[in-house]
């Protein structure tokens, strides 16, 4: 290898070392752990209890998961929750992004800062803040009861709505950033051009703004789905035991049930689900690129 061909690798070496050492190696380790036989007693577990039987190779963990209604239910719930959160996020984020996109430059910068600001706070602080807001004696219920909209305080958490609210709240900033960026990329002359041709505001939106922001919508949907598939804090802190996601299941199998192969196999299947989503995303993304919107 000549020096000039070697140089790019040299420049990238810190990143390569980091990726190999702290990403690829743990991933391989995760895969290996999922192939151990579970329930061993001679491992290095605390108090003599084993996490797995060393020096074993078996698909036992995967076979168990595949044959189990329980796991299928957790998987299905996670995917449905992900899709639901992605839909709700988009429904809220798109009008908000449209609003921010149309603001004058200074107000736009302020609005985007306000959207991203919650991301600077610790996620636990955010969740507990939400709990305070949505609790039986909190301001939201206070308002609802005060207005006479409901007679009893609404239970906003330790149930499915709680999980949806929490996850949407956590994901919204990413979706808004992706959508505002794609709206800002649209040539600002196109909307007046369409109106000059006789199209009213509604037709301009359906025929110009919406199709041209479609790549942004796809990206925002993808980000939301990926994020929601890994939902952990929301279900744990705002859900009930019914709202069990794959991420929570991994944690429970690994640290509560002490069945490392099963936890690892669950994690691997979660990654496979995410990868499948990424592949499926390529289909609409390619279609949209062909339709001529900004990539």
């Amino acid at each position: 290898m000549t020096p000039s061909r070697f140089r790019p690798y040299l420049l990238a070496s810190p990143a390569i070392v980091l990726l190999l050492g702290f990403f690829l190696a743990p991933m391989l380790q995760l895969g290996r752990v999922s192939l151990y036989d579970g329930g061993g007693r001679s491992g290095f577990g605390i108090g003599g209890g084993g996490f797995y039987k060393p020096n074993t190779w078996t698909f036992q963990a995967y076979r168990t998961l595949a044959g189990e209604t329980y796991f299928r239910e957790v998987w299905t719930f996670t995917v449905l929750l992900g899709l639901g959160v992605a839909c709700i996020t988009l429904l809220i984020a798109y009008p908000l992004s449209l609003f921010i996109h149309r603001l004058p430059p200074r107000a736009k910068a302020l609005a985007l800062t306000a959207v991203v600001l919650p991301k600077l706070a610790n996620v636990l602080v955010l969740i507990y803040g939400l709990e305070l807001l949505l609790s039986n004696s909190g301001p939201v219920n206070g308002l609802l009861v005060g207005l006479g909209a409901v007679s009893e305080p609404v239970a906003f958490f330790h149930n499915l709505p709680g999980v949806l609210i929490g996850e949407t709240y956590l994901i919204l900033p990413y979706a808004v950033l992706a959508l505002v960026a794609s709206l800002d990329r649209i040539d600002p002359a196109l909307v007046p051009a369409a109106r000059g041709l006789g199209a009213g505001p509604l037709r301009v939106f359906w025929r110009v703004t919406l199709p041209l922001s479609a790549p942004g919508i796809a990206l925002a949907a993808m980000l939301s789905l990926i994020w929601a598939l890994g939902a952990f804090t929301g279900p744990v802190l705002l859900g009930s035991p019914q709202e069990l996601t794959l991420a929570v299941e991994v944690q429970r199998q690994t640290f509560e049930n002490l069945n490392w192969p099963r936890g690892a196999a669950t994690a691997v299947l979660m990654l496979v689900t995410l990868a499948a989503c990424l592949v499926l995303y390529q289909v609409p993304a390619r279609f949209l690129r062909r339709r001529g919107g900004a990539p």
Partner: protein
């Protein structure tokens, strides 16, 4: 009062922020079927004026009348004005055909009629049938220009606005498109208002030209009148090349100019005298002229059909004069003859 005017502007004014008005007290009338060209340097307010007419901007003061109807409060989608944007503003996600069909769709024209009218218009602007199915990014600049023109014309607008329509094309294509544009506009009979900073474009395309400077219309006239009889020094200098000399003193029908030159003509002190370079006569013809200046050629430019000379007629004054190539060379002593009709006294001042 009914008139034949497609467009009438009365005291149109618009400023941005606290700056001087970009468009200042502009009055204008456009007769049906005419091609009017707004000409001016960049920043003179010509594009702003176009956007005010189209309804893309609201005026601070003044009125816009379309066929005698006040349209100040009419939203732009109801004005029925076609616009060709400088960057064309084609919809990137739609094919050329769908771009052209957009305005008809918005008007609820049925599909079969729509298709027929779109094809007829694309025939007229000369876009091939394979190009019609392409998206803007797959088309060349000239083809995009044709699509933009077809899109603006297919809605049969009362008025067509063109914002620097040829500025984005390279020189050769620009000349060809200029001819085609003139032909298309003439055959459709549409009334058009065109904005350009290219004086050649304005003179060759328009029936009438308005020269703008600092938000004001300095002069509005037919191209020949504008070229031969400019009313202000700026108009004289902006259209073509002009020798402008200040009148130092006027005695009887003799004008004494700065630098000790004089010629026959009527004017007053501080008027500007304009002589176009091609109006000077050289050689034997010069001897028959009432006024003759002699000077030394200090520079020559060969321009193909003719040659441009820089002649120092006094130590302080150089003028530009045209001659046949090879008629004079660097360092030659030449006599410039000035026929009476070559002299134009610029009557006004730039505001």
């Amino acid at each position: 009062m009914a008139t034949n005017d497609v467009l009438r502007l009365e005291g149109l004014t618009r400023s941005f922020g606290h700056n001087a008005p970009a468009v200042n007290q502009v009055d204008l009338r456009l007769e049906a079927g005419s091609l009017f060209c707004l000409l001016g340097p960049s920043g003179c307010g010509k594009s702003t004026l176009l956007r005010l007419v189209g309804g893309y901007l609201a005026p601070d003061a003044g009125r816009v009348f379309l066929a005698d109807v006040d349209v100040n409060d009419m939203p732009l989608e109801r004005r029925n004005i076609g616009m060709v944007f400088q960057n064309y503003a084609l919809f990137p996600h739609l094919t050329a055909r769908a771009n052209v069909a957009f305005g008809l769709e918005a008007r609820g024209v049925p599909r079969s009629e729509r298709r027929q009218r779109v094809d007829a218009m694309l025939d007229r602007v000369g876009l091939s049938s394979t190009e019609r199915e392409r998206r803007p990014r797959e088309l060349s600049g000239g083809q995009q220009q044709r699509v933009a023109l077809a899109r603006a014309l297919v809605i049969q607008p009362k008025l067509l606005l063109l914002d620097e329509p040829l500025a984005n094309l390279d020189r050769q294509l620009r000349e060809q498109m200029r001819l085609e544009l003139k032909e298309i506009l003439r055959t459709t009979g549409v009334t058009a208002l065109l904005v350009t900073h290219d004086q050649e474009e304005a003179l060759s395309l328009a029936d009438r030209v308005g020269v703008m400077l600092g938000g004001r219309l300095l002069q509005t006239d037919a191209p020949r009148v504008l070229y031969n009889h400019p009313r202000t020094p700026f108009v004289a200098g902006f259209l073509g090349l002009a020798n402008l000399l200040r009148v130092a003193d006027a005695v009887g029908d003799m004008l004494h100019l700065e630098g000790g030159l004089s010629l026959r003509g009527k004017g007053t002190k501080d008027n500007r005298v304009m002589i176009r370079p091609e109006k000077f006569l050289l050689g034997p013809a010069a001897e028959r002229c009432p006024t003759r200046w002699t000077g030394r050629v200090i520079n020559t430019l060969f321009l193909g059909a003719q040659q441009m000379l820089q002649v120092a007629v006094t130590p302080a004054v150089t003028v530009r004069a045209c001659c046949r190539p090879g008629e004079a060379g660097d360092g030659d002593e030449v006599t410039l003859g000035i026929p009476d009709d070559a002299v134009w006294i610029v009557p006004g001042e730039d505001v």
